[in-house]
Symmetry: C2
Subunit: 663 residues, 2 copies
Amino acid sequence: MAPSSSTTQTMELADLAPRLLKKERANATFDVESCLEVILGSPAAQAHRKQLVELIQADPNLGDRDMMYRNHSESYAMGLAKSNAFVTFLNRHNITDKDEIMAAYYLVGDVLPMVVHLTMFIPTLETQMDDAQRNYWLPKALAYEIIGAYAQTELGHGSNIQGIETTAQYDHTTQEFILHSPTLTSRKWWPGGLAKTANYCVLYARLFVEDVDRGVQAFLVPIRDPKTHETLPGVSLGDIGPKIGFHAVDNGYCVLNQVRIPRQNMLMRFAQVAPDGTFSKPPMDKLVYFTMVKIRVHCVYYCARVISAVSTIATRFSAARLQGTTGNGKPENQVLDYENQQLTLFPLIALGYACYFTHNVVKSLYEQVEAQFHADIGMEQLYLLGQLHASASGLKALLTEEVADGIERARRACGGHGYSASSNIPYIFQAFIGAVTFEGTKDVLTQQHTQFLLKCLNNPMPLPDVAVGSLDLLGFLKADAHAKCSATTPQQLREPQVLLQAFQVRALKLLLRSDAAKTSLHHLTQASLAHAESIVLSCFYQGVMAVPDPKLQAVLLQLWQLYGLWRIQANLGEFRLDDYLSSSQGAWSQDQLLELLRVVRPNAVALVDGFGISDFELNSAIGRYDGDIYRALIERATHEPLNAMDVTPGYHKWLKPLLTAKL
Amino acid sequence: MAPSSSTTQTMELADLAPRLLKKERANATFDVESCLEVILGSPAAQAHRKQLVELIQADPNLGDRDMMYRNHSESYAMGLAKSNAFVTFLNRHNITDKDEIMAAYYLVGDVLPMVVHLTMFIPTLETQMDDAQRNYWLPKALAYEIIGAYAQTELGHGSNIQGIETTAQYDHTTQEFILHSPTLTSRKWWPGGLAKTANYCVLYARLFVEDVDRGVQAFLVPIRDPKTHETLPGVSLGDIGPKIGFHAVDNGYCVLNQVRIPRQNMLMRFAQVAPDGTFSKPPMDKLVYFTMVKIRVHCVYYCARVISAVSTIATRFSAARLQGTTGNGKPENQVLDYENQQLTLFPLIALGYACYFTHNVVKSLYEQVEAQFHADIGMEQLYLLGQLHASASGLKALLTEEVADGIERARRACGGHGYSASSNIPYIFQAFIGAVTFEGTKDVLTQQHTQFLLKCLNNPMPLPDVAVGSLDLLGFLKADAHAKCSATTPQQLREPQVLLQAFQVRALKLLLRSDAAKTSLHHLTQASLAHAESIVLSCFYQGVMAVPDPKLQAVLLQLWQLYGLWRIQANLGEFRLDDYLSSSQGAWSQDQLLELLRVVRPNAVALVDGFGISDFELNSAIGRYDGDIYRALIERATHEPLNAMDVTPGYHKWLKPLLTAKL
């Protein structure tokens, strides 16, 4: 009697969804395997990676994905369990290569309390300790005899290291430093693992020797008893409380009350205090500079991973989801067929590829420069390193913001399901947006970037002889600031030389404007973003040109064009400065962008498949490879702890009295 | 021996912060009391509100603000406690007026499991039941003898109500409806309170009488036993799992297996099924239309509350926070003195005022139209209601997105402290971004909006005789699409008639473009946003003009100019369409915007004080009125449950084995 057959769909939506994804894949014009080789490397490398994923997924602790059900305390407890499991895992499988450790860490899919031990504490011992110190401490850290935090940020000061208030007074009578938190705001605040996990920390404090200020130096400070793990006398430790993300990490505070440590605990590679108090400071090793560049280049990779995951989730969902008809009785549309949905998602797919290719180019450029540094260091190499440092700063500022904003747009494009933790977009967003502020906020980085560019503009140096790969970071300075866009037809706006020139001229114009208005921080910022965007466009283009498979290359070139036109649309006012683009060309750029949406549409699902992210990594009910999204959502809900009981305890205490009271 | 006096600051930062806010207030050029009257009403109304805040703050359950420490299950349990406390509170203080209930509810500061009972279930009974039904059920709902959910959305369908798959088959032999979930995707999914709280729900299902499809209708369905609260036979209920926000709400699913309800349980105001199965459907009452407009207008108020709270937090923090020096030995700068910080925050303060004034104007227009409807309804009134409906849809789409994006920008502007739950920006963001998708997504609403405008464009009607207040929603249609901006000096870009015209011409141009490219959803969206923005600018201007205090009015006018120029900058490509703004004028608009930042700067803190949001409502350690932000952050951390123990249990189980193993 139930009129099941009279509904408009002849097949259940739940069964239709996987078929829709299959159809998408059949319609693609390129071979996904080719793309996987570009992004993940050779079939052997892919197989190796797949094995790693399977091993971690099979681990009872590392395979856990129930983060969404836990509060901060519960997340931290599980974070410790995962930390233990992770170390055990690395040992069992004899994983010692740093890149492979990081690859495994990414797969764990949660931020662990010991992340700072691995990514900040150990590298700091390596780079800032002298040989004797390093030989003593590094093996202990690598063997987890000690676990360290990195205590730089204070309650009153973040990225401005010169504002640090913690003091280290040298007492030559006992050959000790006395570490102290002289004010409320001098307490260390934020360091990951500092609250409950670490028993040592690298701590930054202003050094005074005989009341002479010797600047901010780093010290190795024991904070917990190695036997009992109890907080040591004179030290106060605690957790700063919950955050948007990083729930499993015990971001902490530390107050020091006249804590004495031996002289040998100052990190002595770059500055020394002799037993008698004599202070010496050799010129800064360029290694520190390299480390900063390296971390910012790595941020580009982090951006690539995150936005490719989110665009994968949202694109598959939009292809599997039907909603709304064009008319009476017609079948519903795939959400991915709506222009607004395409305009939200396709640029994010492009951004994913842009980040991967940019990371490849910039990383290899970095490695090339680093290799040359083993020879003599001249002014030219320093100049080149300066370029790389400035550009990497600008890239970090630009791309973390683009990706953070992009995640949220993708989430909204998934409607209600994007608001649900089952999509996993909330978790990814909450963890990622930390990256917009950590390792330098946008304001600080873009300022550094443009200040360097202004120096180059006003004191041009001949380009160094050393090879700079295929990327000319300062080439835009040679562009013609008075040029106009040469496109005479809408189609010409897609041409590589037209697009590349548009971004270079814009970058130069904004730099010149910034030069004219020296006090405007806003102008500095805009100039930095414009230059960074020009670099991304170049790197993306180079990456596409190097793709061996012509079918894939053709599709990625369309995606590249879409990316360029999207950025023009997003900043049309800047591209129309001095009418570089005329009003017509501005209108064409929108028409071309909308046309490219239709061109890219048939390959959208294949393009996200090409990122090669496993279902385990995505951890998303709506982003599954097989498109079986509705059963996955239903299955996921069965794990919700509230569903363990039909009638919850709160009913008896709070609801029943209401329901039965006659008011 | 500790060199405490040799640091650059002579006063502790923690003590300096409150003084900085005091100084800000002393420098303001207007009287905050005047502003509070504009935003909150008469001193008597303010006092009444203050008392309400104090009463709720003093309530042991309603005053709770420890949401950040709880997982979903814990949040739900506390949500029930707060629900009980809220009802008790309303009874104790004899609060029965709907607006006052909502005012109290806003102050509770958490989303409660019974929110849907109050905001959706009861209103639906009121508007969709016939008189006999209403007389029977409404008193029960008002007295909490029954608690209801609103079950429209299904797993497979959100805003597209025509896609609903749940069926209701009429059985005239027993005079019952048989409700059934025929497919996996037909299960109700998302309704708040449906999982564990409600014992009834209004449920939407496609009605079949004798196999004839009679469209989607509403039914009142008992889902839990009134005595035991256990799920009734044939019904499956559960929670869909955690979300970004709304942790205290049991958003649920419901599967129906041939559940029978009496014929009388169909909501019969607009459609009836007689005992013999005869179906009748009178023309839709305009009341439904009114309800939709009312809810969307209310969204504007919600936007105002949220962005004013967030801009208050971020602005006070930025004024109390010092960071970075301009040179050696100089004192540090207030973060609020950085141009980028001003460019982030001042437009958001302006957006707060824009939303308040827009809500005032549009709400009073709505009430005026509603009052006239008690007289005869003619075509002209319908036309006017159509205008209001379309505009309110566009405003909801525009402003929820602007506010959501604005919260995140403000959060980033607070650096690390914005990532911490102590700032409360995370909680506000997570709850608010639901509003971007609920009650109609941007795509759907902007389409409705522009489709209506296109109808008006192509079939112009003489304006109705009924007064439309001072707001001419369709006035932009009479603008000159070929006009150019008349400003001949940068300063002229601030003039009201210049700014207002720019937004009207832009709205008209984009509507004409949309008319030309009928298939582009993107063009429809852009036209809607442009028109909505023009309405906001008008309403904001009207609000400013009506301010009685000339000093306050002068400051709000500057803020209005800043708002207009900010929106021009954000959409400069559109304002430069056909060179409406020349390249020079485009550049001027940026210069003027940056100059207005400096003009507004001295009043920034007073302007957020003028929103009149109490510390209890802000619930932010860094947004406190008194600026004592550092002590507040330290105090807040003492509540973190992890800090109850120095050594957590996880240490013994997971960390100790690592620390003592020799690897």
